[in-house]
């Protein structure tokens, strides 16, 4: 009897303590090098530059992971202006991979990442399969680099980009070339603009990807009716923001049901409840993107609200939420 009283005390004491949920997630189970995040909140590539600006605003080490801006072998000037146009609850962008090139990224930026206590994943893009492989080789073993995100989904380029991501054979060739050129965990960032994303997802999984990011921006368009010209520098551009959230969520759910490897949800996440939706749909982690343009503290707020949701709903381990949506 006395032991059951003790148990009751223990239960009451536990209930009175604020629950500190376990937030750690594994993005590359079984990989040569691990990619374990202290929590599932990442930045989305192209929406936080290389993290240095955000690191001046808050403790960057609180995030689960930081994504670099997309990097190419050679420096790129990017597209002409206008590169940005706002649309209802979203925006179109056509930046065109303005970046300093991988050499300068490693010499000037990765040296800062090395001092951080947060895994930095480099988003990388080549015009050819061979360029992807060369980038993977250059980045392999570079101090400060914890993983690679293979960009086969950028809609704002004449060569490569989304063309790779729309063809399962081409997508698999790119992923395979990267995987065989690096010991780093490899994430394939998929395009949402395909008929059946599960075909591409499975092709990337079979080619050796450790995780999938679902998804990049949707290809969209906006026309100025006065000038009768597109409102971005190229006729079409990438649509992001809350406008695409239900679409991205559906893609995450479909993908997570079709593959064994972790899926990272990305698309219009503005707050913690949005993040929970993606995790329930099957995402192991989430990327916060356009929200940071409105409020650069958005990734931290998403994290805090995610923790609050877990605490309020008795979620002791975030992994219990992954794919826990009830559809029956």
């Amino acid at each position: 009897m006395s032991s059951s009283v003790t148990d009751l005390h223990a239960v009451r004491a536990a209930a009175a303590r604020p629950l500190t949920p376990s937030l750690s997630v594994d993005l590359a189970p079984g990989a040569k090098r691990e990619l374990t995040l202290r929590n599932p909140v990442m930045t989305a590539s192209g929406t936080s530059s290389n993290g240095l600006e955000l690191a001046r605003l808050f403790d960057i080490n609180r995030l689960g992971s930081v994504l670099s801006k997309g990097v190419t072998l050679k420096p790129r000037r990017g597209n002409p202006t206008p590169r940005i146009v706002e649309t209802p609850a979203g925006m179109l962008n056509s930046i065109g991979f303005q970046n300093v090139g991988v050499s300068k990224l490693l010499s000037d930026v990765a040296t800062v990442w090395e001092t951080w206590n947060v895994p930095v994943v480099v988003n990388m893009l080549g015009d050819t399969v061979d360029e992807f492989a060369r980038l993977a080789q250059v980045l392999d073993g570079a101090p400060g680099v914890a993983g690679l995100e293979v960009n086969i989904s950028c809609p704002n380029l004449d060569v490569g980009g989304v063309a790779f991501g729309r063809d399962p054979v081409a997508a698999a060739r790119v992923v395979e070339a990267v995987v065989t050129s690096t010991t780093l965990p490899v994430i394939a960032k998929l395009t949402p603009d395909v008929t059946d994303i599960t075909v591409i997802a499975q092709a990337c999984q079979d080619a050796g990807a450790d995780a999938l990011c679902v998804a990049n921006s949707f290809v969209g368009m906006s026309i100025d009716v006065n000038s009768r010209r597109p409102r971005t520098n190229r006729p079409v551009a990438g649509l992001t923001g809350p406008a695409i959230k239900p679409l991205a969520l559906r893609l995450v759910w479909e993908t997570a049901n079709a593959v064994e490897i972790p899926v990272i949800g990305c698309g219009g996440i503005m707050d913690g409840r949005d993040a929970v939706e993606f995790i329930l749909a099957g995402a192991t982690a989430v990327q916060v993107g356009t929200a940071s343009f409105r409020d650069p503290f958005a990734p931290i707020q998403v994290l805090e609200e995610l923790v609050q949701y877990c605490t309020e709903n008795g979620v002791s381990d975030i992994n219990d939420l992954i794919g826990a949506v009830q559809v029956d």
Binding site: T81, P82, P88, A89, P296
Partner: protein, 268 residues
């Protein structure tokens, strides 16, 4: 750079269609300099998704509410051009609006410069008034400030009485209804050789018209211009606000908004 909910103090229409709102948010004004800007988050609530993106506004004026105050209030000047500015003008005293700032690189004035030439058009007047205010405070340096302003007609002219008394105000109107008939760039051409330093903010055609004037002068005198571009974030993370200069691709929000005229418009 800080993010804060600025409290609206008062709003006033200073000339037809152009408004000034005073805000209280010490975090946003404490270290702000003329030529820097804030991003105003139009959707007052985070759930307000349309408009989604914040908008950039130059600091227009600073003031202390009383002589004993150590913290400055600041003002923004804007024309009613869309949903965001309409919302700004309709906010009541005590209302709060989220802003991020101070952002960007503002004007740089040399200590030794005695004659300052300021050239503006439209709402481009805002950062120039901030600069004129700041430089008028240094009475001991005996600076001369000429501010040239251009508008289509008298109804669009910034009121002279709002400027510090030390500022010599020169106006050009395209329809000749006030000041000199013609363009503000005519006034700029007349004063360029007088100036030790020149500063400009206005529409792109104004900058383009200034470029040949500077080159014709033969000295290629530096002119600091304050630029405005499409911009999503204002904080250097989106890369939307590219400015193509002689020194490479720059970001308006982070590398600017202050640029050298001839770096951006070498040939008009």
């Amino acid at each position: 750079m800080r993010r804060a909910a600025a409290r609206v103090i008062q709003t006033e229409e200073i000339y037809p269609g152009t408004f000034v709102t005073w805000y209280d948010a010490p975090a946003l004004s404490q270290h702000a300099k003329p030529g820097q800007f804030v991003m105003v988050d139009a959707g007052a609530e985070r759930s307000g998704l349309d408009p989604l993106l914040p908008r950039a506004f130059s600091y227009y004026r600073f003031r202390y509410a009383s002589p004993h105050d150590s913290e400055r209030q600041f003002a923004l000047l804007y024309s009613l051009i869309g949903r965001v500015t309409e919302q700004m003008a309709s906010m009541q005293p005590g209302d709060r609006v989220w802003m991020t700032g101070p952002l960007g690189r503002g004007f740089e004035v040399r200590r030794s410069a005695a004659n300052l030439l300021l050239v503006g058009g439209g709402v481009g007047i805002a950062p120039l008034v901030a600069l004129a205010d700041a430089e008028s405070e240094h009475a001991s340096r005996s600076r001369s400030i000429v501010l040239c302003f251009g508008a289509r007609g008298a109804e669009g002219v910034y009121p002279a009485e709002l400027l510090p008394p030390q500022v010599e105000y020169q106006v050009a109107t395209e329809d000749g209804s006030m000041g000199r008939p013609g363009f503000v760039t005519d006034l700029f051409a007349e004063h360029l050789s007088w100036a030790d330093q020149s500063f400009a903010c206005g529409p792109v055609p104004m900058f383009r018209a200034m470029s040949p004037i500077v080159r014709r002068d033969g000295m290629s005198r530096p002119v600091q211009i304050l630029m405005e571009t499409e911009m999503a974030c204002g904080t250097g993370i989106c890369y939307g606000c590219a400015v193509f200069t002689k020194r490479g691709v720059k970001l308006c929000c982070k590398d600017g908004p202050r640029f050298e005229l001839l770096d951006v418009y070498p040939n008009g």
